[in-house]
Subunit: 569 residues, 2 copies
């Protein structure tokens, strides 16, 4: 059967759907239009092009075999007709026609279709504040903007830059400017933490500490009020709390799905503007598919709609649409929200819910945090990573995991493994027993994921009582003698430095000597036990419980977490 | 409730069970015995101690906080009594007593128990050939042997070594000798490939090629017949095919479970000697638990017993036993056989079945092979990896994955993710849509796992017809003009070198020009299409099918796989 398919949008989803469909039905016709001239680029690579890691923007448009994906490429290698600089202005569903307009000439035309794919993507959110259109203010909506940014920094025209928004793209762009070009870069974020919603406050502060050490400046919990300048060029930025100089401002305050075209055609669209699709990625019109950054997804933990504009999801959805266009029956059920982002020499990654997100979604949830190396503790190249696990207390089901660490690939591997477990509705007990490929250069005999499941089980059973570095800090800095008894249960050699620095507020009894030296420990105070990573302090807590001490807490992640978090001891 | 627990064996499982139990029941008594003096060491780290990566053998016995796990450590920090140099000679189940003997003095004694744990481990398989007891022949059964090996190589006494067995330990030991100490090292293996049973012949040959390049010599498909020497020291080794000089021989021909003690006590033991346990790790005597290298496991794909001596499984089982000793209800259901091994600058990893194992176990299975980088193809630090997926053709269920590549952590992460999917009985379609955390420094928008699922689906649907580098080699080297038409569908610049070297047997039509140049392609011959990695040759095949060419095959993994495999073009 020969079909005539029109695809609106030629980045990520569109090309993938087109190519898949053409491979399944080489005899059918596909026309793909895009209002831009540059198409089918790896948008997620933009920060690495801006930084210079990727020398030429053509690489973001090239295949792995170095052919640039332009109109000619699609025609010749995929059998797909592409019209660039052509905008869809209206979908006439009755007549099965897309009305189009040439962006440069204004010429109008129409494209009839049997099946239509809406792949209109998303647009960077505009803040709606004065000065947003000044020269030097960028919203990074496409590769051309990226080229302009890179050109400006490469010419040394930018001394001070401000990035608005501490989400994935904002932080990646900030790193690109600061790390590779030495631009004095500040990040303004309205939320009180970086990566709001996807990271817990504890992991976010660990990431923040590292980025500050690498030279980025942060203004968290500040709302941008105004951009101003002279001669039409931005030079200053005012938040509700401070005023900053800036030769360049990059607004990375999220994106908004481009659902207007669909909405105007009477296709169902969510309140936030995302096109609504079923698990076959069909819109409310069965002849029209949609996917990528313009659609609403289903969250696989709740079944509720959510929005997650990611190139990876767009690609997978594109293939599903391509299959279904050819009469197949492929599904895309939704997502757990897996992510990873490199931040200088660290990375953060996660899947599923943070504790706060789980609570907000009605789960009776708890979370635990662990620090452990990626490899056997005796293997020379090990690197620590911190993982935080959120789980449901009643069903013991895993709800999410997030991590912070230097060990990028190793940590991402753990996160992806947990994501696969989320699909299977796995529990913390499954995590305890999880089979992980083992060899000392790659993992511990008891992998960090196993330890994480163990920790969750112990906390849930009340065998372990934990507090995080945030709670430690509150008690430590707020303390005036009435706080808990801080007990360092490491060996004397490890505790020595702190004992000397801090003096009488810090106490040291090695874990193995607690039973014999129990008289030294007050019975009328809460006791907070700390070791290197939380393993020995758990054992100390068990001993103290056995000795009848009623109120004992172990610092999860131990000194390693306190250091990464930046507690001043 | 206070219990008296005796544990026979103090490496991996024993200590873990003891410590877990004591944390749950601090008031109970645990006595752990071991016939060796050195206990609780990380046995999997032995090759890295022999190589010198780990400077001191004490590190294999130390905790992450640098305390050596000796008798005193267990007494003081875990509340566990340890008796070293003490051997269990008989279990009297009626009297609930273990009869023991001091290895040095021969003194006998007995230990009463309420609950007993058998953690007797395994013994390296002896070959039963002449000369096996000569000086210089090692079976690496414990840390003392490792110390002796290292001492000998460190003193420069070893010029030529032979490792017998190309399994995990054999290859790790061979690398240690060759890479770090410059010993001329040969590996003798009776099977025709390295890592028999866990890797396909194709991946095994890729690994072999790399190890040969790094200086190891191999005698595959050779059976060791005799060791000989002079003055009681080994100097020569004879197989059924060759004769080798050797100052040192390391026999790494697998291990045999130490099930004799259990068997003699009337406890159920498998034909191969592994103690039989249920999912709570209880033996046929409900007061006696067993785990680690001395037990038979259940394979989670078949439910059938199998044997997989791994430190990681032993640790997890130890915890399960510790919980159950304290009246808990923890389970250990079995394993999929996940593994990873570092081989110089490459690694191989896997989980579940290879194609051959799946067929042997009665599955209607097929496999596909793919080569793709770990990161976005435009990201500068990408490294290729090769993955081979085995799946059931009827149910589409994933049965296993194995990989070869330089990207260790990234590849292991993929393997662990698939292992988690095996538990969920996931299909190749789940793999196509699998949500992987995405950012260019860590993955592709279409991750290699997604591509692998896609490839399997296309092959199963007959849309893609693939052959591996092994089949290519057969046709290429066996060809005399009557073979297939070899069509390189890369761009001319990429194909040029081969065209010049090979001449008329090699043909080049870029994928995008096949339609217009179809007249050049013979219609009366099978056509074998090749590109860089198999993606373009698939598209070429689709076009050729559409043009009516009846017999077209795409080389999976493309030139990348042919190179790694070592096809001489």
């Amino acid at each position: 059967m020969s079909r005539n398919v029109v695809i609106i949008g030629a980045v990520a989803l569109g090309p993938k759907a087109a190519a898949r469909f053409k491979r399944m039905e080489p005899g059918s016709k596909v026309t793909m239009i895009d209002r831009e001239e540059l198409i089918s680029y790896g948008g997620c690579g933009i920060p690495y092009f801006v930084s210079g890691d990727i020398p030429d923007s053509r690489e973001l448009r090239a295949t792995s075999f170095h052919m640039v994906r332009d109109e000619n490429f699609f025609r010749q290698t995929k059998g797909v007709e592409v019209m660039t600089g052509v905008e869809a202005v209206r979908i006439d569903r009755q007549a099965r026609t897309v009305h189009v307009r040439d962006v440069k000439t204004g010429d109008q035309g129409s494209l009839p279709y049997d099946k239509l794919v809406i792949a209109t993507g998303a647009t960077p959110r505009r803040l709606g504040i004065p000065g947003e259109s000044l020269e030097g203010v960028f919203h990074v909506s496409n590769l051309r903007d990226a080229e302009r940014i890179r050109e400006a920094v490469a010419k040394g025209k930018v001394k001070k830059a401000v990035v608005v928004g501490a989400g994935f793209i904002g932080l990646e762009m900030a790193e690109a400017l600061c790390d590779m070009w030495g631009v004095e870069t500040s990040v303004v974020e309205v939320a009180p933490q970086v990566l709001p919603r996807v990271l817990s406050p504890v992991l976010a502060r660990m990431a923040l500490k590292h980025m500050r050490m690498k030279g980025l400046r942060f203004h968290l919990g500040e709302a941008l009020k105004e951009l101003s300048g002279h001669g039409g060029r931005v030079s200053c930025l005012r938040t509700d709390k401070s005023s900053l100089e800036a030769d360049m401002v990059i607004v990375a305050a999220g994106v908004v799905p481009n659902g207007l075209l669909a909405r105007e055609a009477g296709i169902e669209v969510s309140p936030r503007g995302g096109v609504i699709v079923d698990e076959r990625l069909r819109t409310s019109d069965p002849d029209i598919y949609a996917g990528g950054d313009c659609v609403e997804l289903r969250h696989l933990l709740t079944g509720q709609p959510f929005y997650l504009p990611m190139g990876s999801l767009a690609n997978r959805q594109g293939r599903v649409i391509g299959t279904n266009l050819a009469g197949g029956d492929a599904r895309f059920d939704g997502a757990f929200g897996s992510f990873v982002v490199k931040l200088f020499e660290r990375s953060v990654a996660g899947t599923g819910f943070t504790l706060q997100a789980a609570l907000d979604n009605g789960f009776d949830a708890a979370s635990v945090l662990i620090v452990q190396p990626d490899r056997a503790h005796f293997y020379p190249t090990r690197e620590p990573m911190t993982l935080e696990l959120t789980f449901d207390k009643g069903t013991r089901r895993i709800l999410g995991v997030q991590g912070y660490g230097s060990a990028g690939d190793a940590m991402v591997g753990r996160v992806n493994t947990v994501a696969a477990m989320l699909s299977a509705r796995a529990t913390i007990d499954d995590l305890s027993n999880l089979e992980m490929a083992y060899s000392p250069p790659f993992s511990s005999a008891m992998d960090i994921l196993n330890s994480l499941g163990n920790l969750a089980g112990n906390v849930l059973a009340g065998r372990n009582v934990v507090a995080g570095p945030d709670e430690f800090e509150k008690l430590w800095t707020g303390g005036n003698g009435s706080g808990p008894y801080f007990l360092d249960c490491r060996e004397e050699a490890d505790a020595k430095r702190l004992l000397e620095c801090i003096g009488e507020r810090w106490h040291n009894i090695p874990q193995g000597q607690i039973r014999e030296l129990q008289e030294e420990i007050p019975r009328d105070k809460p006791i907070m036990v700390v070791c290197n990573t939380g393993a020995r302090s758990y054992e100390a807590l068990v001993t103290l419980h056995d000795l009848g001490f009623p109120d004992v807490t172990s610092i999860q992640g131990g000194m390693a977490a306190l250091n990464d978090y930046g507690v001043m001891l």
